[in-house]
Amino acid sequence: MKVIAKTGNEAMAYAMKQINPDVVAAYPITPATEVVQIFSNYVADGEVDTEFVAAESEHSALSACVGASVAGGRVMTSTASQGLALMHEILYIAAGNHLPIVIALVNRSLSAPINIHCDHSDTMGSREAGWMQFYSANSQEAYDSIIIALKVAETCGVPAIVSTDAFIISHCMDRLEVLEDEEVQKFIGEYNPKYYALDIGKPKTYGPLDLQDYFFEHKRSQIDAFSKVLGTYNKIAQEYEKLSGRYYPAVEEYRTDGAEVAIFTAGSTADTAKEVVDDLREQGRKIGLVRMRMWRPLPIEEIKKALSKFKAVAVMDRSDTMADFGGPVFLETRGILYDLDKRPIITDYVYGLGGRNVEIADIVRVYDEITEVAKTGKVSKPVTYLGVRGEE
């Protein structure tokens, strides 16, 4: 084990270097540019054996990744925001063909208005594409997640997005522990796809037209493969813990014992909230935190189990659904809790759009308000826009 100082982008590029993929096809975009730039340095310096394809757009970059993955390669790329939006069409093609491509992504808001800072609207907009989604709370987790996600992806034949928060994590230098190259190689193992196009002894046909008679069956089989991801993830996360000492459950509970209310959120804000939880717990407040780390596939039973014990839950969403009813995490979590006989009251705080700073005081306020909701049983405002001028 080595301790090094790295930004989120450097950490993800470093994990990619240790993975040493066969092909990386990419197009740079702020704030994920560095991932590609640093990785291309590794290529130029001969530290990896990767074929690096500098594409002319993200659409082309992911298309090249699809081609390389069909050919049988271990394939990765990196993007953010508009880049992921431009990849949108190809996301479905990669997932529908069961290609285990991994994207090192930086969560950045989508235009308009144009902005380069953090929110989760890019990946939330792709949550139905059939890609696993992991939201990292810090650089350490981003590094670890890239390695874990690659192995899960290749085991299940499902692609994965590992993301960090723009600038807050991507450009923040942090202290992190990294594995040795050989340890990573041993952990991920050699990639031996069962079927691949360059298997010239056994030629195959990829991407045929699939009409009314079979399309639905193939989609159903894709959904089935996706439903098996969580079990595989849990197993691989435990294997990774044995190797690194760090364990990342799909849904993380933090000081939830005896708590009556909780915040349910993702990314760097969850990390910040842990500090708030410690402070408020010291004051005797019965509060806890549940962190959403894996958002696709949706860890339904884990979320149910984690949230069912509270009187009230405040979701903090870093994007909005434009449904005039809060963010995606809120809407889906409400759906999950609907089945419970005794379900917590649930409210939503849409916050931090376009990189708006979330302060300690903001999180304290959410705990204060949700505590009041639990006490009175009354919700005066199901959705609050937190930290925006012109609203309370």
């Binding site: 195959k204 990829y206 639905f216 069956e217 089989s221």
Partner: protein
């Protein structure tokens, strides 16, 4: 896991399918004869043909048979009768004539 085969009789359930609509053989279009779609039939005359191979290049269904660099005929199992070969054939040669298909 079986793959979808154009000639399979029974429609399979999703559990039986290979992932991602992968077909575990190549050139399966050879199993799919499209020749019976034809309403006009191209007829090639060897004596008029100047062997320019324009028809071979332009045929969208690769239905012009060529051997040792020379046109030898038309593959009626796949020719859909579009007439592009007759259109492209140089006027002074006019080696391909389109006639009504009679079954």
């Amino acid at each position: 896991m079986k793959d979808v085969h154009v000639e399979c009789q029974r429609l399979m359930d999703w559990q039986e399918l290979a992932k991602g609509c992968l077909i575990q053989e190549a050139a399966t279009s050879l199993n799919f004869k499209t020749g019976d779609w034809r309403s006009m039939r191209p007829v090639w005359s060897e004596d008029k043909c100047i062997q320019c191979l324009f028809c071979w290049i332009t045929c969208p269904d690769s239905a012009i048979k060529v051997k040792d660099g020379k046109v030898t005929g038309i593959d009626y199992e796949f020719c859909k009768g579009c007439g592009i070969c007759a259109q492209i054939c140089p006027e002074k040669a006019s080696a391909i004539e389109m006639i009504r298909e009679e079954k």
